[in-house]
């Protein structure tokens, strides 16, 4: 367990995303109505940045081919994507948002 501070919570407004680099590759942090979730940033379909996408509820839609992923589970919800992306544990400490980049995994 190695949670690393990524930002303070007011840096990512609800409905917004933040892209961050890590040893595990780029990770996207999403604010879903005050809850924070982190998944791999690269779309499993077209290798594009998901943090650049449109967040509706807890689904992020890639801007290039409209593939959708659940930001809670990383699972693909719409073609053309069929493969999930990894999720990363997120913690809050005070106003800070932390991600454990070492524990990226596919949700069950």
């Amino acid at each position: 367990m190695a949670f690393v501070r990524v930002c303070s919570e007011d840096e990512v407004a609800p409905g917004e995303a933040l892209r961050t680099e890590s040893a595990a590759g780029p990770v996207a942090l999403f604010n879903v109505d005050g809850e924070f979730f982190a998944i791999e940033d690269t779309c499993s379909h077209g290798q594009w940045s998901l943090s650049d996408g449109y967040l509706t509820g807890d689904q992020i839609e890639c801007t290039l081919h409209m593939a959708k992923f659940c930001v809670r589970t990383g699972k693909a919800c719409s073609l053309p994507a069929t493969k999930a992306v990894k999720v990363f544990p997120v913690q809050r400490q005070g106003c800070d948002v932390l991600i454990d980049f070492e524990d990226g995994h596919f949700a069950a």
Binding site: H65, M66, A76, C77, S78, L79, P80, T82, K83
Partner: protein, 448 residues
């Protein structure tokens, strides 16, 4: 690209005919979809010299049964004769050119022009002329029968051509026949047409449709994503770009097809809208054709095919259609259901419903395609758009013939090899001033 003859002076399209398609660089000039002069030249050099689809045998089973259809812009009547043969003749009275048949189809004893009453028998012979005795000095009615086309058929499909020097239909289809057999001869008794002919008009060039059915598996994963999702409401369907398939480019003639051989089984769901459809499909059919004998065959909702120039089939959706050209920017689509004769009535009904849901006037997949073609055509109203080259490079250089089970194919369904074959043949016809390329002898020699 080799071009035998340059454009003659008579027709003067705004671009050089030799620059319209360049196989080497894989580029297409969009003028070929929009230029009215090129279209006029197509009517002469492509449509009047090629074999054109007319009807399925089962559309006109009995003597006197007829279908009024078109060979490109030319209206024709196809009629079953008393000897069992079929005649196809111009639907134009030899007196002043009125249609001699004004209905879509049926059974007739004769065709009488509604203008001055010239009457023709079901073979198109002029048999009666009002006031002939009183007012014509000497009319040789034998000389004034309806213009006859040359007719031939292949496994239930009737074709006709105005080119009396054309190769036989069998030679014209060439190595594309084995791939047509996958559809036409996959079960005992072959195929039959069901239901009527569904007709609709959309504003796009005929080649967008013909080329896509010839060659384009690529667009599916983008254009048809929505019906694929709708067919799988509870689970995410598989990845259509993972399927393994083949693409065939006819060694001559501009025909092409493509299909999946593995992984595409789930695609059957797309036309079924949640209902269970019986197992009467390609996989369940007897392995009758040469291509089936190895045990390999196309699977699922997959085989697209165009017989040059404008007849297309989509096997999985049981649809066959003609893209009748109506000027450079419009087509009449004439589509009908093509099912296995040996299937049960219940199975045929399921196939009919599948066709309606997918590839028909209100079919979900059909509308995805029409939207693209019509929009491209609209873009080509632009002067700059008409002179900005299209890219047809996909799969260029891929070796053909590596899979002995599927001759003349490349081992990738996602390619534009068949499209390049389509345009290479089209260009040869367009640059052939005197029609020598379309004659039987030169045709058989000229690999493309």
């Amino acid at each position: 690209m080799s071009v035998t003859k340059r454009n003659d002076a008579g027709a003067a399209p705004s671009v050089s005919l030799t620059d319209l398609f360049d196989e080497k660089s894989g580029t297409i000039s969009p003028a070929i979809y929009a230029d009215p002069q090129l279209y006029e030249l197509e009517l002469e050099r492509v449509f009047s010299r090629s074999w054109l689809f007319i009807a399925h045998e089962t559309h006109i089973p009995k003597a006197g049964d007829y279908l009024a259809t078109y060979m490109a812009e030319d209206p024709v009547i196809a009629v079953r004769q008393k000897d069992g043969g079929v005649k196809v003749f111009l639907n134009q009275c030899r007196h002043r050119g009125m249609k001699i048949c004004r209905t879509d189809g049926g059974n007739a004893k004769a065709f009488t022009c509604t203008y001055h009453g010239w009457a023709y028998d079901i073979g198109g012979n002029l048999v009666q002329v009002p006031l002939e005795q009183q007012s014509f000095a000497c009319l040789d009615k034998k000389q004034w029968g309806a213009r006859q086309a040359r007719v031939d058929s292949y496994k239930g499909l009737i074709f006709a051509t105005w080119n009396m020097d054309a190769p036989t239909l069998s030679d014209y289809l060439g190595d594309a026949k084995s791939y047509l057999d996958l559809i036409l001869d996959r079960s005992e008794g072959g195929t039959e047409a069901i239901g009527g002919i569904v007709k609709w008009v959309i504003p796009c060039n005929w080649k967008f449709a013909a080329e896509q059915f010839c060659s384009d598996m690529y667009h599916g994963a983008t254009s048809h994503m929505s019906p694929m999702m709708a067919a799988s409401p509870d689970t995410l369907p598989g990845d259509p770009t993972d399927f393994s398939g083949r693409q065939f480019r006819a060694s001559r003639g501009g025909h092409g097809t493509g299909f999946f051989v593995e992984g595409a089984e789930w695609l059957w769901r797309v036309g079924q809208a949640g209902e269970h459809v019986s197992g009467f499909d390609i996989a369940a059919a007897e392995q009758r054709t040469n291509l089936h004998r190895s045990g390999k065959r196309p699977v699922g909702f997959s085989q697209h095919m165009t017989v040059f120039p404008n007849f297309s089939i989509f096997a999985g959706a049981n649809t066959a259609r003609v893209w009748h050209p109506r000027g450079p920017g419009e087509i009449e689509v004439w589509a009908f259901g093509l099912v296995d004769k040996a299937a049960s009535d219940a199975e045929k009904e399921q196939m009919r419903l599948m066709t309606l849901r997918t590839f028909s006037a209100a079919g979900t997949w059909e509308q995805d395609d029409g939207e693209n073609w019509v929009e491209v055509q609209r873009v080509l109203r632009g002067h700059e758009a008409r002179r900005t080259l299209f890219n047809a490079q996909m799969g260029a250089g891929a070796p053909r013939g590596e899979d002995p089970t599927f001759p003349e194919t490349i081992t990738n369904a996602f390619a534009e090899e068949a499209a390049r074959g389509f345009y290479a043949h089209w260009q040869k016809l367009m640059t052939d001033v005197d029609g020598s390329f379309s004659k039987a002898g030169s045709y058989a020699d000229a690999a493309e």
